[in-house]
Every structure is written in structure tokens, then in C-alpha cells.
């Protein structure tokens, strides 16, 4: 589904990604872990198409297409979804209106029937249950005045609505207490299927107790320095990141 080869990227003069290689197949969950500043969020942003980053080398294929050529909205329509580490507050735009516009744009691009207000609300109500989100929250301006947990649940709600093929969760666990984390993880798990894939970007292993990965990769200084199965995450939790740094240095 996703094939990243020698991906290099920078922001301004600062080189952040130094040659990432990663293959993700349908049905898989990959965790990307690593110390702060290793390039985890940059990788997520580059895949979603954030313009601040300049790709200096490498290629990314998504379902056989050149992902890097696409505008962010085209990527979304192709089925890439980024759950933001810091979801943006947009005063005056209600979540419901925003989601209706977004979903219809995506459906249209996929050649599917767009939804009228009634069918949209029906779909919305089903998806709300997945993340235990209240409609009063969705009537409000997008993320404005939401708590950290509400913002993250709103991200997963949007993911449920758009049914992406590849979901990238960028530090979705940061700032969540354990109950909120369970709700969010539970939502993600219900959305998993054999036809979609998930990349979980996280600093801590904690989230991976609930969203169990097939593969774990350790990112350090803009490169994947170690890959393994889910046990690697436990090892990182127990030993910290220093042993990885030492191993790389040798």
C-alpha cells in the first residue's frame, strides 16, 4: 500500500529526514517510535503533504501512485489520513459543517454518491458512538475550546467518517489520561480492517498496549535504525532510547 524509499526532507536549512525506507501493507499496523527530535512528526507531516517541509530526495508510492506529487487534499481523497498531534482550532466553522464538506469532497473524488443532510447525520451518529463523542461538541466551532482529550477524540471521529486506507496517528496519546487513551485506541481498533493500514507515531509504548502493532520501527536522527515486532516496543519502554543511540554510534 505504502512504499517509502530513501525519503529525505528538511525544513528551512535543517535536514530532518535522512533516508527513510518503509513498506506498509494493507491490514498492518506499524509503530514509529523514537526520542524527541528524531523526525517522527516530520515523517507524518511529509506524508500528509505539509508545505513547510521540502522533500530533497526519495520517493513515496501510495497504492502505486506518487504521493509526493499530490496536494494535501488529493492525498486525503486517495485515503491518507493524518490525526494531528495538535489539532487546529477554527472559530466559526462547526465540526458538522466541516465534516460534511470534507466527506462529500472525498466521496465525490472516489466517484461515490455524496450525502444529503439527512444521510450525513445518520452516518455521523453511527460514527459518534465509536469514539463516544457528543453531538453538542460537534455543533461547536471546530476544536475551539475543546479539551485535549476532546480534540483527540474528534480526530478519530473524523477518521471514522472519512474511512481512510492509511491512517497516520501523530502522537495521538500525548496529553491523554488512561481513560481517554482507551477510548481513542478502542475507536482506532474498531476501524481496523484487512484493507486498511495504520501508522502509529509515538514516543511511549503505553499506547501500543491498546493498539497492538505488527511492526515497530525506531527512528533516530532521521533514519529508521531498528525494526522489529511488538516486543521491541516493550524493550524500548524498559531500557529507554539510550541503548539505541549507543548501538547506532558503534
Amino acid at each position: 500500500m505504502l512504499s517509502i524509499k530513501n525519503l529525505q526532507a528538511r525544513i528551512g536549512d535543517k535536514q530532518i529526514l535522512n533516508g527513510i525506507n518503509l513498506e506498509v501493507k494493507a491490514g498492518e499496523v506499524h509503530a514509529i517510535m523514537g526520542p524527541n527530535g528524531s523526525g517522527k512528526s516530520t515523517l507524518a507531516s511529509v506524508l500528509a503533504g505539509r508545505e513547510d517541509y521540502e522533500v530533497t530526495a526519495g520517493e513515496v508510492e501510495f497504492r502505486g501512485k506518487d504521493l509526493l506529487e499530490m496536494a494535501p487534499e488529493e492525498r486525503a481523497r486517495e485515503g491518507v489520513f493524518l490525526a494531528f498531534q495538535y489539532p487546529v482550532e477554527i472559530p466559526g466553522v462547526s465540526t458538522i459543517n466541516f465534516m460534511k464538506t470534507a466527506l462529500n469532497k472525498v466521496l465525490q473524488a472516489r466517484g461515490q454518491q455524496t450525502l444529503d443532510a439527512v444521510s450525513f447525520l445518520k452516518v455521523m451518529k453511527e460514527k459518534m458512538k465509536l469514539v463516544d463523542i457528543d453531538q453538542s461538541l460537534l455543533n461547536r466551532s471546530l476544536n475551539e475550546g475543546f479539551s485535549g482529550g476532546e480534540k483527540k477524540r474528534n480526530e478519530i471521529f473524523q477518521m471514522a467518517m472519512l474511512e481512510p486506507r492509511l491512517a497516520i496517528l501523530d502522537e495521538t496519546d500525548s496529553g491523554l489520561d488512561i481513560d481517554a487513551l482507551k477510548v481513542v485506541a478502542n475507536g482506532v481498533n474498531k476501524l481496523r480492517s484487512s484493507s486498511n493500514a495504520t501508522i502509529v507515531v509515538t514516543h511511549y509504548q503505553r499506547l501500543l498496549d491498546y493498539i497492538v502493532p505488527d511492526y515497530v520501527h525506531v527512528l533516530y536522527k532521521g533514519k529508521i535504525v531498528k525494526s522489529g515486532k511488538k516486543d521491541l516496543a516493550l524493550e524500548l519502554e524498559a531500557k529507554g532510547y539510550d541503548w539505541i543511540k549507543d548501538e547506532v554510534a558503534v
Partner: protein, 455 residues
């Protein structure tokens, strides 16, 4: 007093435009009454003395209105035979189609149309109820209406503003609206200021008087429109008095796509516990200069001033507002928002005066702008002059671009950049729209905004 000396700073000179010629241009044999003739004479004297504002005058620092008028309009009456008195009944038929264009489907309102500054009976639909008088101001003066004689010229100061002086001397017509005691007027009075500027320039001088008596409620919706490609200018002065516990909602829609230059001066005098909401929408025109002044002359008053200028091309939208708190325990809130594209220019100047006796005043002001292009600009200046010590006042202004991070967020959900921008701009305008109380007007203004934002 300090608040008066403010005006004295304006360096107004009279030699730039021949004062005599302007007066001559529209030296009307209308609205004849000894008291009003004396008022006209007072206006003429004042205009001879102060003339139009010098281009560097503080109140017009960013809007060189006199220079633009000299450049784009001939103010010599001998060279063009236009003017309100030249408009005869036959013109009405010619403007039908145009005025139809500004008629609003589904808006149930009394309609008052002025063509080139003259009341058009055939295009107007006036109320028949005895609760309210809506008529031509010239007719009302002619008939010696006591309410007109009592209030006309009592609120707009001829001594400091050259346009007001000119208007006072030379107004051709306008509306007189009188909502009587306890009357709740069922639908808005829709005022259309139409210019027929097909081949020749038009200059109109319009004077309005609105009197809302005790406990009465009135909604007024005014709008500018034109036909033709000639330059035209309107000098409007509106005086409104809202008596104790009265309610006035004043909507102004400035979306004349023709080459209109305009000066609109509005002064509203509020008695105790009265409520006033003003809504000023500026979407088009060559030059729009609004001077809006509220005098809160009593306790328990509440006033809201909302403004939205959404302009592009080379439009200049200039809003100068004044809120004058004269008595204790009143509340005013002002919020003006601007979206500027192309080479358009915005000016916001908001004055708040809190006089020494006006303790426990709450006065708030905000001006927020979004600049969409390199060629667009805005000058914003809050001016708070507070002499009372127990008050709550605040002001804030921001000018910036659309939040790129927010646009990316919307894009990442499948929404293209243009739609994302339009959504955010519409959301920005929503704060003003949501405050429109009249549903029909809100829907209409909303449709205009959507059209302009291509949403």
C-alpha cells in the same frame, strides 16, 4: 471641553473646491420653511468657512476624499446640468429595471426609493398604519411637520464637518421616519438610494431624519445602487433620535457595483434605556466613507455597532466611528471586521469618549482584519478618551493573513485550498452575520457574502 477640541484639529480649508459652486449646484427650492431655511443658511455659512477637508486633515488622513472628488467628478454646475430637480416623473420608468435589481425577493418591507436624491412615489410602498410616518423629508418640511422642525439639524454638527455643512445647506430630499410612541413597526423600512448614472455623473445630497419615540421599535435597512458607468457621488446625512426605551436597528448595505463615491454621516442620539444596533456592510463602490456617531445621553443604554467590509479591486472602505458616553451605567460594544483583497484599502478609526460623569460605563471595541493580497492594506486606529475613573473599557485590533496551519488542516481532510479559504473567511464574517436579528436581512446579506467568497 476636550472632546470638542478633537474636531478642531481637522484642518479644513475652503479654497480647494469653490464653496459657492457646490451650494449653487444643488440650491434647491425644496423643503421651504423659515426655520429650515435658516438652517440651510447656517450650513452655507459653515461650508463657506470650512469647505471640504484638506487632503492631510487628520480625519481623512488615509482617504483623500477631496482629491478623489475633484479628480473624478466635476463640481461646477455650469458644466453639467444634473441634479435632483432635473429628475422628473418620466425618469421613474427608466429606473424600474435597475431598482428591481436591488429589490430583495422574500424581504417583506416598506420600500422607499430615491432616484438621484429625489423621492420616487411610484417606486415606493409606504406604510398605511397610523403608528408610523414614512415620507419625503422635503414634503414633511413643506407641510411644517412639528417633529421635523423640532429635530432636524439638532444632532449633526455643521460647524466641524464640511460635508455635513454642505448637506445641511443643500439637501434635495431624503426620508423622514417617525415611529410613534409604543409603536412596534412590523417590518423594516427599506431605503434604496438609486443613482441613474448612465452617461452623466450624478451628485446627490440626501438628508434623513429618523425619530423613534418612547417604547417604539423600528428597523431601517438602507442600500445604495446605480445604473451606468459614469462617476457619481452621494453626500448623506442621517440624524436619528431614539427616545426612552426605544429600539432602533439600522442596517446599511453598501454594495453599489457602479462608480460610486460616497460620504455617509450618521448620528444617533440615544435617550435613557434605549437600544440601538447598527450594522454596516461595505462590499463595493469606489470610495465609501462612513462617519457613524452614537451619543449615549442617558443611563441604562445599550448600543451595538457591527461592521463588515469585504472589499476588493480598488475600493476604499473607511469607517470612522464615535461612541460618546455622556451618562453613567450604559453599555456599548463595537466590532468591525474586514477582509481586503486586490488593491483595496480599509480604514478603521474608532473613538470612545467616556465623560467625567459617565461612571460605570462598559465600552468595548474590536477591529479585526484579514489581508488577502499584497496590494491590499488597512489602517486601524482605536482612540479611547476616558475621563471617568470607574469604567470597563477595552479595545483590540488585529490585522493578519489567514492561518496557514488551519488551511492545511482542512486540506488534510480532503477540502481543496480555495474552499478551505472560503470556509475560513465565511467563518470570520459569521460573527457579524450571527448578530443580525432580522431573518430576511440576515439571509440576504449571507447570500451576498457567499457569492463574494465563491462559497
Amino acid at each position: 471641553m476636550k472632546w470638542l477640541s478633537e474636531h478642531a484639529e481637522n484642518e479644513l480649508i475652503s479654497e480647494q473646491v469653490s464653496s459657492k459652486s457646490i451650494i449653487d449646484l444643488i440650491d434647491r427650492q425644496v423643503g421651504l420653511h423659515p426655520k429650515i431655511s435658516a438652517l440651510r443658511e447656517k450650513g452655507r455659512e459653515a461650508f463657506m468657512r470650512i469647505g471640504l477637508p484638506e487632503n492631510k486633515a487628520e480625519e481623512f488622513r488615509h482617504t483623500p476624499i477631496t482629491r478623489l472628488l475633484q479628480k473624478n467628478l466635476s463640481l461646477d454646475p455650469k458644466e453639467n446640468e444634473i441634479g435632483p430637480l432635473k429628475v422628473d416623473a418620466g425618469v421613474d420608468a427608466g429606473v424600474d429595471a435597475g431598482v428591481d435589481a436591488v429589490r430583495i425577493d422574500g424581504l417583506d418591507a416598506y420600500q422607499v426609493v430615491f432616484v438621484n436624491g429625489i423621492f420616487s412615489p411610484s417606486l415606493s410602498t409606504l406604510p398605511t398604519s397610523s403608528d408610523i410616518v414614512v415620507k419625503s423629508l422635503a414634503d414633511a418640511v413643506q407641510a411644517g411637520e412639528p417633529v421635523v422642525l423640532e429635530h432636524l439639524g439638532q444632532y449633526a454638527d455643521v460647524q466641524t464637518d464640511g460635508f455635513v455643512a454642505w448637506n445641511t445647506a443643500a439637501w434635495s430630499d431624503g426620508v423622514f421616519i417617525h415611529a410613534k410612541r409604543n409603536a412596534v413597526i412590523d417590518k423594516p423600512v427599506y431605503l434604496v438610494y438609486w443613482h441613474q448614472a448612465e452617461t452623466q455623473e450624478v451628485i446627490s445630497v440626501v438628508r434623513n431624519l429618523i425619530v423613534v419615540e418612547t417604547n417604539a421599535q423600528l428597523q431601517v435597512f438602507e442600500r445604495y445602487g446605480s445604473a451606468g458607468s459614469a462617476n457619481h457621488f452621494s453626500n448623506h446625512v442621517t440624524e436619528a433620535v431614539v427616545q426612552a426605551n426605544g429600539f432602533l436597528d439600522l442596517y446599511t448595505l453598501q454594495d453599489d457595483a457602479g462608480k460610486r463615491y460616497q460620504y455617509a454621516f450618521t448620528r444617533i442620539h440615544q435617550a435613557p434605556t434605549s437600544r440601538v444596533n447598527t450594522y454596516t456592510f461595505t462590499f463595493d463602490g469606489k470610495l465609501v466613507r462612513n462617519t457613524l456617531q452614537l451619543a449615549l445621553d442617558g443611563e441604562g443604554i445599550e448600543s451595538h455597532m457591527f461592521g463588515l467590509y469585504l472589499v476588493s479591486g480598488d475600493t476604499i472602505a473607511d469607517n470612522h466611528t464615535v461612541v460618546d458616553h455622556r451618562q453613567p451605567n450604559s453599555f456599548s460594544n463595537e466590532i468591525y471586521k474586514g477582509i481586503l483583497d486586490g488593491n483595496s484599502k480599509g480604514v478603521f478609526n474608532g473613538k470612545i469618549y467616556v465623560r467625567p460623569q459617565a461612571q460605570k460605563t462598559n465600552a468595548f471595541q474590536a477591529n479585526r482584519n484579514i489581508i488577502m493580497s499584497d496590494g491590499a492594506s488597512v489602517n486601524t486606529k482605536p482612540q479611547l478618551e476616558i475621563w471617568a475613573d470607574d469604567v470597563k473599557c477595552s479595545h483590540g485590533c488585529t490585522t493578519g493573513q489567514l492561518d496557514e496551519e488551519a488551511i492545511f488542516y482542512l486540506q488534510s481532510r480532503g477540502i481543496d485550498k480555495d474552499t478551505a479559504r472560503a470556509m475560513m473567511l465565511f467563518a470570520f464574517a459569521t460573527e457579524i452575520l450571527d448578530n443580525i436579528k432580522h431573518e430576511g436581512i440576515r439571509h440576504y446579506v449571507e447570500s451576498l457574502i457567499r457569492e463574494r467568497l465563491h462559497q
